[in-house]
């Protein structure tokens, strides 16, 4: 194509104005089918407590909360390049905020959950400027150190059990909003009805986090975030305020992580600093899920969390051996499928259920113009 032709067409493009020559699509027929399928799965999960055993409900609470944490870590580290090893800080803060709210202030647990997120967000806003002075591996270590410091601070609160921790008494939870209706609906005892209620909250969180992240990654801010990760200097040179967008992401992720932490410990009803700020439970497992499933994909964490759940269920009888198996699987997948299970599926068959790439194509009137050009 000659440059003169290009110039003519630039003029045509500008002059015509009314008829756009190009269009952008993110979705595909497959992704629309996947969206309908996902909706059906969610509806089935909402109705599941009517038939499921209490064990399954508790397992699924684990699956939903871990899925939410994994999606959050994926957007932070995978899309944002902020490889944090300190997300347990916000799980722990959320959990402690829940206990403080319910036990000492007597607030309804359901209302305490967003307040727990708020506390995590405020602490993240304060920590951010300090941690963002560090880059790459230094940021990772720094975030871990910050989490450890917060664990030690939480262990100082005697009213919240100090270093040994505490439990929420069932009487504190008996007035929980919606509990009576759940009891009546399924004819359950209070403890089982509480699990059902928490199950719905966990499901809601996992779905909201997944949808929110999908929308964010497809938005202009998601694009700016990905550019900042790939090359901050180049991103700034095309007008992206890289510092601000990372800082906002960090705070929003902390907010959601704090809410997940509150939900997890509402179900456990027992807290201790070591458990709530555990780097293994809330960061190592989460990274395992994302790396196994496929970093920088929406599908990856879903596959990863199901894999982890399956492994934990079937290997539980072997005691600590299951950690060894987990480690070996992680190493093998990193060696042979560096982009994770979903990354490999995508590479082989080119399919995405929840695509995030914006695909440019010519509109019909755009391609007519191109054909005319070729004819000349």
């Amino acid at each position: 194509m000659s440059v003169t032709a290009a110039r003519d067409k630039v003029e045509i493009g500008r002059g015509a104005g009314a008829a756009p020559l190009w269009q952008v699509r993110v979705g595909t027929p497959l992704s629309r089918a996947a969206a309908i399928g996902a909706l059906a799965v969610v509806v089935a999960l909402v109705l599941l407590p009517a038939v499921a055993s209490r064990n399954l409900i508790q397992d699924l609470i684990f699956v939903f909360t871990m899925l939410a944490l994994a999606q959050l870590w994926n957007v932070l580290a995978g899309w944002g390049g902020l490889v944090s090893v300190g997300q347990q800080a916000f799980v722990g803060l959320g959990a402690y905020a829940l206990f403080a709210g319910v036990v000492t202030l007597g607030i309804d647990p359901v209302f305490t959950i967003p307040l727990a997120g708020l506390l995590a967000a405020v602490v993240a806003a304060v920590l951010g400027p300090l941690l963002f002075r560090l880059e790459g591996p230094y940021f990772a270590i720094g975030s871990w150190v910050a989490a450890e410091a917060l664990r030690l601070i939480c262990a100082q609160f005697k009213t919240l059990g100090g270093g040994t921790g505490m439990s929420i008494s069932p009487s504190d939870l008996s007035q929980m909003i919606g509990l009576k209706s759940a009891q009546a609906l399924f004819g359950l005892r209070p403890a089982a009805a509480r699990d059902v209620l928490i199950y719905w909250i966990a499901l809601l969180l996992a779905v909201a986090v997944t949808l929110g992240i999908t929308a964010f990654v497809r938005s202009r801010m998601g694009l700016a975030l990905a550019a900042s990760r790939d090359n901050a200097a180049a991103a700034r040179s095309v007008g992206v305020r890289t510092g601000r967008i990372r800082y906002l992401l960090w705070i929003v992720v902390a907010f959601a992580t704090g809410m997940v932490g509150a939900v997890v410990y509402l179900q456990k009803a027992r807290i201790s600093p070591d458990a709530a700020f555990s780097v293994t439970d809330w960061t190592a497992y989460v990274i395992f899920i994302v790396v196994i499933g496929g970093v920088r994909t929406i599908e990856g964490p879903m596959i990863g969390v199901l894999t982890l759940w399956g492994l934990i269920t079937y290997l539980a009888q072997y005691g600590s051996l299951y950690l060894v198996v987990l480690g070996i699987i992680a190493i093998l997948i990193m060696l042979f499928m560096p982009k994770g299970v979903w990354g490999e599926i995508e590479r082989r068959w080119g399919i995405r259920l929840f695509p995030t790439q914006r695909v440019l194509s010519r509109t019909s009137c755009g391609s007519d113009l191109a054909k005319n050009d070729l004819a000349k």
Partner: protein, 237 residues
Amino acid sequence: MLELKAVSKAFGAIVVAERIDLSLSSGEALGVIGPNGAGKSTLFNLITGMLRPDSGRVILDGRDITDLAPEDRCRAGIGRSFQIPLPFDHLSVFENLSVAALFGGGMGQAEAVQHCGRTLELTGLEAKANRPAGSLPLLDRKRLELARALATRPRTLLLDEIAGGLTEAECHELVETIRTIHAGGVGIIWIEHVVHALLAVVQRLVVLDFGRVVAQGVPAEVMRSSEVQTIYMGVPA
């Protein structure tokens, strides 16, 4: 109109810019030459805000932009290409341009799509619009540098050795593209070692050496001047 007033910058004892005075009238094309280490890329970093000068001011359209961050200078109308291409590897070529148009160019979604499409067409990248930028060969990376800078719809475009490493034919094509851009009213400052490409476009030439402007003026005269002869040919002045 872009102006540098007595801009100086040193890294320790090494002076990379020494009281540089430079101006670019709107729509002008200015070439910058000089040996390696003369401070050419530093000059761009001072203009785009990647470096802050130790002293002196940078003025854009009468507004002092010396204290503006790079992202705000881009939004004010300065676009640049990097000497070593810095694509956003995990984004597609189109997405690379899209982020530039949406943020640097301040466009809405619909406008950005059309603008990026046109820019891809102009720079010969249309067929590769949906490929990951990290998978492009060198020539296309250079094109992408240019295209991404153009996507911000700059009024002043800074090109850093964009013709280096290209074949004669590719270079000719690039010159034509840059002429087209210039004809559209965009002011250009172009650093280039491939002098014949530069001379085909620019109206004025500046020679840098050791962080100083040693000669400037009409390209043909500057090339004949004793300063350039000394620097490039080793002919004593």
